[in-house]
C-alpha cells in the first residue's frame, strides 16, 4: 500500500511517516502544496493524506488541481478548521473524508484503511464477522456466543459490529460515535464509556472470549480475553 502524506509541520510529518511505516505502508511525504501536486500527479498512490493549510499552494487547490487531471485517488483532508462549511467545502472539492486536528493516530489509521477498502468492499458479500467465540450476522441482526443467541439492543449490536470489524485495533470514541449514531458530534468520554460498560457486562455474562479494553484518552480495543479473566 502506497500512501502520500502531505503535511507542512515537520514533527507531525515525521511522526506520521514513522507510524504508517510501522503499519506496513510505503510512505511518500511532501511538505508544501506544489511538491504535493507534483508527486500526486506523477506517481500512483492508494491514498493521499492532505493537510488543508499548506505553504505555496493551499490544500483545496491541490485537491482541485489533482481532480482536474482525472485522478481519483482517495483523499483524506486534515484540517485545523472545524467548521461545518469548511468540512463541506473540503468534501465538495473532491475530498473523501475530513479529519480535524488534533486527531488520534488510531482514528486516522482506521479512516485511511476504510478509504482504501471502499472500492473493493462492494464486491465482497460477507454478512458475518467473527472473533474468538463471538459471531455477528449483520444482515439478520443476530449475535451469537458459542452458537447461543446473545440478546443485544440495536445500538449495542452496532457497537459490537464496529468493534468486531476493527478487532484488535484501537477505535476512537468519535469514530465509534459517528458510525453508530450517525451524528457529527462529540458526546464526551463518559457517555460512550457507559455504553461500552454495558456491552462489556453482557459479553462477560455470556462467557465471551473477548474483552473490550478501554485505553484512557485514546479509545477502545476489542481483544482476546486472557485465560485467567
Amino acid at each position: 500500500m502506497k500512501l502520500l502524506l502531505v503535511e507542512d509541520d515537520k514533527q507531525n510529518r515525521e511522526f506520521l511517516y514513522k507510524a504508517f511505516n510501522e503499519q506496513g505502508y510505503t510512505v511518500d511525504t511532501a511538505a508544501d502544496g506544489q511538491q504535493a501536486l507534483l508527486m500526486a500527479t506523477c506517481e500512483e498512490h492508494d491514498i493521499i493524506i492532505l493537510d488543508r493549510m499548506l505553504p505555496k499552494l493551499d490544500g483545496l487547490q491541490v485537491l482541485a488541481a489533482l481532480r482536474a487531471t482525472g485522478k481519483n485517488t482517495p483523499v483524506l483532508i486534515l484540517s485545523a478548521l472545524d467548521k461545518v462549511d469548511e468540512r463541506v467545502a473540503g468534501l465538495k472539492a473532491g475530498g473523501d473524508d475530513y479529519l480535524t486536528k488534533p486527531f488520534a493516530f488510531s482514528e486516522l489509521a482506521i479512516r485511511v484503511e476504510k478509504l482504501i477498502k471502499r472500492p473493493s468492499q462492494s464486491t465482497q458479500k460477507t454478512t458475518t464477522v467473527e472473533f474468538e467465540n463471538v459471531s455477528l450476522d449483520f444482515r439478520h441482526y443476530k449475535a451469537q456466543i458459542n452458537g447461543k443467541p446473545l440478546n443485544l439492543q440495536p445500538k449495542e449490536f452496532k457497537i459490537l459490529h464496529f468493534l468486531l470489524e476493527h478487532q484488535s485495533k484501537l477505535v476512537t470514541r468519535t469514530l465509534l460515535f459517528e458510525s453508530v449514531w450517525e451524528y457529527h458530534f462529540d458526546p464526551g468520554t463518559n457517555v460512550i464509556d457507559v455504553h461500552i460498560a454495558r456491552l462489556r457486562k453482557k459479553l462477560l455474562q455470556h462467557n465471551a472470549h473477548v474483552n473490550i479494553e478501554t485505553i484512557r484518552g485514546v479509545g477502545y480495543r476489542l481483544q482476546k480475553a486472557h485465560a485467567n479473566e
Binding site: 509541520d9 514533527q11 507531525n12 511522526f15 506520521l16 507510524a19 493549510m53 485545523a80 478548521l81 472545524d82 467548521k83 461545518v84 462549511d85 486536528k101 488534533p102 486527531f103 488520534a104 493516530f105 488510531s106 445500538k155 484501537l170 449514531w181 451524528y183 457529527h184 458530534f185 462529540d186 458526546p187 464526551g188 468520554t189 463518559n190 457517555v191 457507559v194 455504553h195 460498560a197 454495558r198 485505553i215 484512557r216 484518552g217 485514546v218
Partner: protein
C-alpha cells in the same frame, strides 16, 4: 416567522414618518389656504359690502339734509325726483310701495346705519330681488332707503362655495400625493431595511444598489456600502486571525496528542493527560462554535427534522447514563413534530438539555420529554433553580452552585440558546416546586 412580524409595517405607508409629515403639511397648507381666502374675501367682497353701506349712509345724509331744508310737501316732491334717478330705492309712509313694483315690505327694518337684507318680488321686472334696506328718521316722517344687492350676494355665495371646494380639493390632493410619496419613499427606505436585515442574518456581502449620482438616498447608500465594506473586511480579518490561532494552536497540539497517544498505549497513566487535553480542546471548539453561532457565521443546513426520531436517538445515547443515576426517562408523543432546521445543531441543543436534566435532577429523578405541536419540552422533578439563577442560566460561563460541583464549563445552555436564536425558535426555562423544565418551540 420573524419576517412576517417585521414586514407588516414596511408596506403600510400610514405608519411611516413621511405620512405623518404629509398630514402635518396638509394641515398647515389648509390653514394657510383658509387665511388667504379670508383675506381675499375681505379685500374684494368685504369692500363691496362696505361700499353699499357707505352709499346708503350718504343717501341718509342727503335725505336728512333735504328734510331740514324743505317743508313736508316739497321734501316728498324732492324725494320723488330722486327716486327715479340712480339705483337707490326710496320709500316713505303712506307711499304706494306698489308703485315701486315691489310685492311687500317687512315691518322690522332697523334705523340706519343698521341695515337688513331681504328678498322681494319685483313685479315690474318679474324677478326676485335682494334688497339691503335701512330707515332714515326725518322730521317729516320715516323714509326707507334700499339698494339691490343680489349680485353681491350671489357673488358671496359663489365665492364661499368655490373656496370650500378649493380647500377640500387641496386637502384631498395633498393627502393623495402625500400617500403616494410616502409609499415611494418607504419603498426606498424598505430596500435599505432589507439589506440591513440580510446583514443582520449573517450575509455580510449584501450591498445597497444605487445610481452613481443622485439624492440623499444615494449618498446614504454610498455611506452604508462603505461601512459594510469595512465591516466585512474587519470580519474577514478577525476570521483570519481566529483561523490562524486555531491552526497555530492545533498544529503543536496535534504533535502533543500524537506523542501522548503513542506513549499512552505503553503507559496507560498518560491517558489522563490526553483526557485533560481533549477537555481543553472541547471547550475551545465549543467557544468558537458558540461565537460563530451568535454572530450568524454558522451556515444552517435546513432540512425537515423529525422531533421523535431526534429525541429517541438522544435518549438512546443518554439512557445508560441516566440508568447509572437510577433516573427514569419517559418520552410522550402528543403530536407529530417536524422541525425545519439543521439536524446536527438541533441534535446538539436537545442533547444538551437532556444531558443537563440527567446531570442536575439528582438520583431517582423522573425525566419527562413531551413532544407537542410545535414544541419539545424536557422536564424533571428535581430541585430546579431559584428565580435569580434562572435568568442567568443561558449566559456563557455562568455556573450555578450545583453546576460548580460537576464537570463542565457553563457553555451548554448558552449554546442551546444560540442554536434556538439562529433558527428563530424560542427557548423557555421554568423552575418551580415541581422541578425544572426547558421548552424549545417554533
Amino acid at each position: 416567522m420573524n419576517n412576517k412580524h417585521s414586514l407588516w409595517w414596511q408596506f403600510n405607508p400610514r405608519v411611516s414618518s413621511v405620512w405623518r409629515l404629509t398630514l402635518a403639511f396638509a394641515t398647515i397648507t389648509s390653514v394657510v389656504l383658509v387665511l388667504c381666502i379670508v383675506l381675499i374675501y375681505q379685500l374684494l367682497l368685504g369692500e363691496q359690502t362696505r361700499q353699499v353701506e357707505r352709499r346708503l349712509n350718504a343717501e341718509q345724509v342727503r335725505i336728512e339734509g333735504l328734510a331740514n331744508k324743505f317743508d313736508k310737501a316739497s321734501f316728498f316732491k324732492q324725494l320723488n325726483i330722486f327716486r327715479n334717478e340712480g339705483d337707490i330705492l326710496i320709500f316713505w309712509q303712506n307711499d304706494e310701495t306698489q308703485s315701486q313694483g315691489l310685492s311687500f315690505f317687512p315691518n322690522d327694518i332697523p334705523k340706519l346705519p343698521k341695515t337688513v337684507e331681504f328678498p322681494v318680488l319685483d313685479t315690474q321686472r318679474g324677478q326676485i330681488r335682494l334688497l339691503t334696506t335701512g330707515i332714515v328718521k326725518t322730521k317729516h316722517g320715516k323714509v326707507v332707503i334700499a339698494t339691490a344687492t343680489e349680485h353681491l350676494s350671489r357673488l358671496i355665495t359663489e365665492f364661499k362655495t368655490i373656496a370650500t371646494w378649493a380647500c377640500l380639493l387641496s386637502l384631498v390632493l395633498t393627502c393623495v400625493f402625500g400617500y403616494i410619496f410616502a409609499r415611494r419613499h418607504l419603498r426606498r427606505v424598505n430596500y435599505f431595511n432589507n439589506v440591513a436585515e440580510k446583514v443582520q442574518k449573517g450575509d455580510l456581502s449584501a450591498r445597497v444598489v444605487h445610481k452613481q449620482k443622485g439624492d440623499e438616498f444615494v449618498t446614504l447608500a454610498k455611506h452604508i456600502n462603505t461601512m459594510l465594506q469595512s465591516i466585512e473586511e474587519n470580519f474577514a480579518l478577525v476570521q483570519g486571525i481566529t483561523d490562524n490561532i486555531a491552526h497555530d494552536l492545533k498544529t503543536p497540539l496535534t504533535r502533543l496528542r500524537l506523542h501522548l497517544e503513542n506513549e499512552a498505549i505503553k503507559q496507560p497513566s498518560l491517558g489522563i493527560a490526553i483526557e485533560q487535553l481533549e477537555s481543553v480542546l472541547h471547550t475551545f471548539d465549543a467557544m468558537l462554535k458558540l461565537t460563530r453561532l451568535e454572530h450568524g457565521q454558522f451556515p444552517l443546513k435546513l432540512e425537515p427534522v423529525n422531533g421523535f426520531t431526534l429525541m429517541s436517538d438522544i435518549i438512546d445515547i443518554l439512557e445508560p447514563t441516566a440508568e447509572q443515576n437510577q433516573q427514569h426517562i419517559i418520552l410522550h408523543k402528543n403530536h407529530e413534530l417536524i422541525f425545519e432546521g439543521d439536524k446536527n445543531l438541533l441534535f446538539q441543543a436537545c442533547y444538551n438539555l437532556l444531558q443537563n436534566a440527567i446531570k442536575y435532577a439528582g438520583n431517582h429523578a423522573k425525566i419527562t420529554i413531551t413532544l407537542s405541536k410545535g414544541s419539545i419540552k424536557i422536564s424533571d422533578n428535581g430541585k430546579g433553580v431559584n428565580k435569580q439563577q434562572l435568568s442567568q442560566l443561558t449566559k456563557r460561563f455562568y455556573r450555578s452552585d450545583l453546576a460548580r460541583q460537576k464537570d463542565g464549563f457553563g457553555l451548554g445552555l448558552a449554546t442551546v440558546k444560540a442554536i434556538c436564536d439562529r433558527h428563530h425558535f424560542t427557548l423557555s426555562l421554568q423552575s418551580d416546586e415541581n422541578g425544572f423544565s426547558s421548552t424549545i418551540s417554533h
